[in-house]
């Protein structure tokens, strides 16, 4: 029973982080068909901002890191992706690799590749008891924050008129523009939102890992990217559920694989991913309007 509570908390907190990362990637993919690998660096730079501001109160540090991630997201859009908007998805993907590499190398040159330790929210590194089970407060907070953000994003997309415009653009960008939806506004908003999500992920993730290094965001981004593929590229619901699912499966593998095999849990995870894609090649929630035609 106690083990079960712990597994559920582990699964949901990891799944929540993957879901937020997957949503950050999914938001941009859905409006401009860009698989943004530089999302990893949004997380990394936000984490470095937390490190740089670690002497300041938490609110300031968090605000600073959100600002850094949003600014970086918007600047990469303006400088790298805007001119490629009508290019084919492969070109944009390669451009995003380039941006990702560039930022990583800049970080290595300017700060160094050695991990810096940080503990942004020390108060969370205690345990709490649920029934007879000891679970980390940080993981509970992670679950709560992820739930709140998912809810807020859902309300934004479902209930506001700008959210409606973003969903229309995700479904059929050209038609949305013909109804008057401003392409630049929607795309910049998507990048800014992905920056906010990345900053939150950076906070929650470094609070667990306790350090930041130039490739911090890369494994997260790769797993989250896989999650968006599982969920169905271009579908935001799919990205969120895919992220959650990948987190849950990873935790279950970690818990139930024989100890000798645990180091290879990613291999099992990706084998399952391949199986899932063989059954549902377009993901669990295929997006509409992936092909654009007018």
């Amino acid at each position: 029973m106690n083990a079960l509570v712990q597994i559920v908390v582990d699964a949901l907190s990891l799944g929540g982080l993957y879901a937020l990362t997957a949503l950050g990637i999914g938001l941009i993919f859905s409006v401009m068909r860009l698989a943004n690998f530089a999302h990893a660096e949004l997380v990394t730079c936000a984490a470095y901002a937390l490190f740089a501001l670690s002497a300041h109160p938490l609110v300031m540090a968090v605000a600073g890191s959100v600002l850094v991630a949003v600014a970086l997201a918007v600047v990469t859009e303006r400088l790298a992706f805007r001119t490629l908007r009508s290019a084919d998805p492969t070109t944009m993907m390669i451009a995003s690799f380039t941006v990702s590499m560039l930022i990583q190398k800049i970080l290595v040159f300017s700060i160094g590749s050695r991990p810096k330790s940080l503990d942004p929210v020390p108060v969370l590194s205690q345990a709490v008891w649920i029934g007879g089970a000891q679970v980390s407060l940080l993981k509970l907070v992670t679950i709560a924050v992820c739930a709140v953000l998912l809810l807020a994003l859902t309300i934004f997309l479902r209930r506001t008129s700008f959210g409606l415009q973003m969903r229309a653009a995700a479904e059929n960008f050209t038609m949305a523009r013909l109804t008057g939806v401003r392409a630049n506004a929607v795309i910049v908003a998507a990048f800014a939102l992905s920056g906010v999500l990345a900053a939150v992920v950076a906070l929650l993730f470094t609070a667990q890992s306790g350090f930041v290094q130039p490739r911090l965001g890369v494994p997260l981004m790769i797993t989250a990217f896989v999650a968006t593929v599982i969920g169905g590229m271009g579908s935001l619901t799919g990205a969120a559920i895919g992220g959650l699912l990948v987190g849950v499966v990873t935790t279950l593998l970690q818990a139930f694989l024989p100890p000798d095999l645990r180091p290879f849990r990613e291999a099992f995870l990706f084998a399952l991913v391949i199986l899932a894609l063989l059954v549902k090649p377009n993901g669990l929630f295929p997006a509409r309007g992936l092909k654009e035609r007018i």
Partner: protein
């Protein structure tokens, strides 16, 4: 009086393939003008070029006396041109109501918009019944009504329709054209592209026949109906088509 839409010597090509050659036409305020022609005649390209989806290689398009070429796409509807593209293009994953609301993206007068949406829902009760269901679940005819209503909600001066009767049963086609006639009565000018020449000739004030990218014949629909030259132009048989 100057025309609402004036197109002069317009040519468009996709790479080396020429889609429109030296097309000139005009649409006056309050008219219904039809452009008919077979598949591949360049009809959709013409509308796409007016809407700003395609850039012309030469020629000018003037709307209310101002050039509209080379502008960002989202400006088209703000100028007063609404395009209802071929294949209907509802936002299939959004609800019927959300689709209608998107039609009014550029407007700020929310009260008037809500009243107009209510009007369309009264006109087409199915839209009201299905208001909270995904628009993709509507039938073809219902989707066509929805996209025309969506286009109208931007309060356009010119409504352009690409193949409004494509794939619809004759009875539904009649409904669509009734709607188009009521659009005109609201003071909106209509430019419709049709493969269904009979249908177009019956409803439009004037008709242009487009074939292989050029205007082969034009005139008041009543004059063109039943004329042997009309069929010849439509099928590219006339003298004008003898240039190849």
């Amino acid at each position: 009086m100057t025309a609402l839409l004036q197109i002069d010597a317009l040519s468009v090509s996709y790479g080396r393939i020429s889609a429109l050659r030296d097309v000139s036409l005009h649409v006056n305020t309050g008219e219904i003008v039809a452009i008919v022609g077979p598949n591949g005649a360049g009809k959709s390209t013409l509308l796409a070029t007016i809407a700003g989806l395609v850039r012309p290689s030469t020629g000018t398009i003037q709307f209310r006396g101002q050039s509209v070429t080379g502008q960002p796409l989202e400006r088209t509807v703000r100028r007063g041109i609404a395009l209802v593209p071929e294949g209907r293009h509802v936002f299939g994953g959004l609800t019927v109501f959300e689709n209608l609301k998107l039609g009014a993206t550029i407007r700020r007068d929310r009260v008037a918009v809500a009243a107009e949406i209510a009007q369309y829902m009264a006109l087409f009760p199915i839209l009201s019944e299905r208001r909270n269901e995904p628009a993709g679940q509507l039938s073809g005819g219902e989707q066509q009504m929805l996209v025309i209503a969506r286009g109208m909600l931007s309060n356009p001066a010119l409504l352009m329709l690409d193949e409004p009767s494509l794939g619809l049963a004759p009875r539904i086609t009649d409904q669509v054209y009734d709607l188009i006639e009521s659009v005109r009565q609201r003071g909106v000018t209509v430019l419709a592209v049709e493969q269904n020449a009979d249908r177009a000739l019956r409803s439009a004030d004037r008709t242009y026949v487009l074939n292989s990218g050029s205007v082969r014949l034009s005139g008041p629909s009543a004059d063109l109906r039943g004329k042997p030259e009309f069929e010849a132009a439509y099928f590219g048989l006339g003298q004008a088509g003898a240039d190849k």
